[in-house]
Symmetry: C2
């Protein structure tokens, strides 16, 4: 089963996909269920009731009718991984512990849904605005001190994450802070796919395309700390809750092709503090970024220019 | 005006304080207002309606009747500051940028309210569990690219934060991640005080006491990046929203007195990776930690042992 979060006529809704763009609106098919995927996931029988309500029905809405939202709109926590693929560690030249995952947080409003615009900062604010294609894991059953061999019992589903980053701000100080949390800088979607349908995550591949050209392409089995290890580690300190999201980390860039002038950048730290390296191309207004995870789907976002750098209240 | 968030008979509520422990329950006095302080703050006339509803009434509940919650229970973002007092930078020997604030995020469930227990990790998980007394700023009017000279127009009120930290986990990798987000490791309260009642924050002092002994005591004017600078900086990248919280950073420890054996620790990094230094004493089950900000109040929490390190689901 694949579930989407959306807004339609200014009201929130959750849908069960029947094909790649059409879905059964649970507000109609199961009006007793909450209009919020986190709250459905938190119910012991929420996903099975959603499946039963949608069973055999045809789509009553499509992606053209609605604004898709981040799959989980209001998680308690979005745990994100830095430097969790060897290829990304190597390309950045950065250090990370071999013993412990490298974790920071994102907040909900730093993301948009599938097909909604990513916002590139005004040029005087930041120009090193980068994609990061990643597998997102959504927690179902809550738990604490979860052993690795029971970790997968706590997964409600999987999704795709573009962990968009403003490198200049990420480099302002040692904690990533604001650079990983710019307004609408990342995306999360299109849907949550349940584990029975997704299968073994380590047989899948992450592919990021900018304007149709592959920029990242690596197997999920390249994760240094895998899904089980991350669930175990985070749950040592925190009750993992229904709807908590773990964004598992991004692979390195593909080497540039001979004709790929834009990507032929020597590895260096530029004046603004952003790390550049061969194969990485920043996102600019007008670009289209797609993150595909095989067997899961494609998360697609155009890039728009954020509003100019002027005071805006209210 | 001082406002509290609480649960009573398993329902959420917001109260307007009439003395230091009694309050008018807005669920009774203003049933049209939301039972959620973030949502009241988000209304243009929310705080004035709360004040009018409570005006002249006597308390109908006290702190003994309820469980106090973190002042804002469900913020979109809690922005926290590392190394924002010279005294704290000096005692840790850590580096920070002189040009940009050092920001990380906390999530809501890493906090409890006033008088609720802080949870000390099981000893095999972490022992360097530290208080950090801090001034918290709660955003009212939303805004982006807010200039410093208009920053204070966006403050709905102030509160007190104990930014409790598990140093071993904070040191596991370069991003603080989990070490700053242990379950119930911090506290936030007792109330939000509106700016008209609080006055000039830079004339106030932060005092942290562990078991009655002062461990931190410094003026808010010691902030390196002050409230206006932090609001300006964060709003460059993010729409500051009603109920967003900025936790402004903690001062250094007081030097230990001659009879204060527990605090006479040489500055060093211990085997677990925790930074210790003279004057800092970790929190243990049975301790009582108070953070006072003069003119604002006292945030008080006992420390309890978290449950043993065993798998817990559901």
């Amino acid at each position: 089963m694949r579930l989407v979060s959306y807004r339609h006529n200014d009201a929130p809704g959750v849908g069960v996909m029947v094909d790649d763009t059409g879905f059964v609106a649970l507000n109609n098919a199961a009006p007793d269920l909450p209009s919020n995927l986190r709250r459905i996931v938190a119910m012991e029988d929420g996903l099975s009731r959603a499946a039963a309500a949608a069973d055999g029905k045809s789509a009553d809405l499509t992606f053209d009718d609605v604004d898709l939202e981040p799959v989980i709109t209001d998680p308690n926590a979005i745990w994100a991984l830095a430097l969790n693929f060897r290829t990304h560690i190597d390309e950045t030249g950065l250090t990370t512990s071999p013993d412990y995952p490298h974790i920071f947080l994102r907040h909900a409003k730093s993301h948009v849904g599938h097909l909604r615009p990513l916002l590139a900062p005004p040029p005087d604010v930041g120009q090193a605005f980068d994609y990061e294609g990643e597998l997102a894991v959504i927690i179902g059953k809550p738990g604490r001190h979860i052993p690795k061999d029971r970790a997968m019992d706590h997964v409600a589903g999987y999704s795709i994450h573009n962990e968009g980053s403003v490198r200049e701000f990420q480099s302002h100080n040692r904690q990533f802070g604001l650079g990983k949390n710019f307004e609408a800088s990342g995306s999360f979607g299109p849907w949550m796919m349940t584990p029975d349908e997704f299968g073994d995550p380590y047989e899948k591949e992450i592919i990021t395309r900018l304007n149709g050209r592959e920029r990242q392409h690596e197997g999920v089995d390249g994760l240094i700390f895998n899904v089980e290890a991350l669930i175990h580690y985070i749950s040592i300190g925190h009750i993992l809750r229904p709807g908590d999201v773990i964004v598992t980390g991004t692979p390195g860039a593909l080497p540039p092709a001979d004709d790929d002038i834009e990507a032929q950048i020597e590895s260096h730290v530029d004046d603004g503090g952003g790390v550049k390296y061969a194969g990485r191309v920043h996102m600019k207004p007008g670009d289209v970024c797609e993150v595909e995870i095989t067997g899961l789907g494609i998360l697609r976002n155009e890039v728009e220019a954020d509003l100019p750098n002027a005071y805006r209240a209210g």
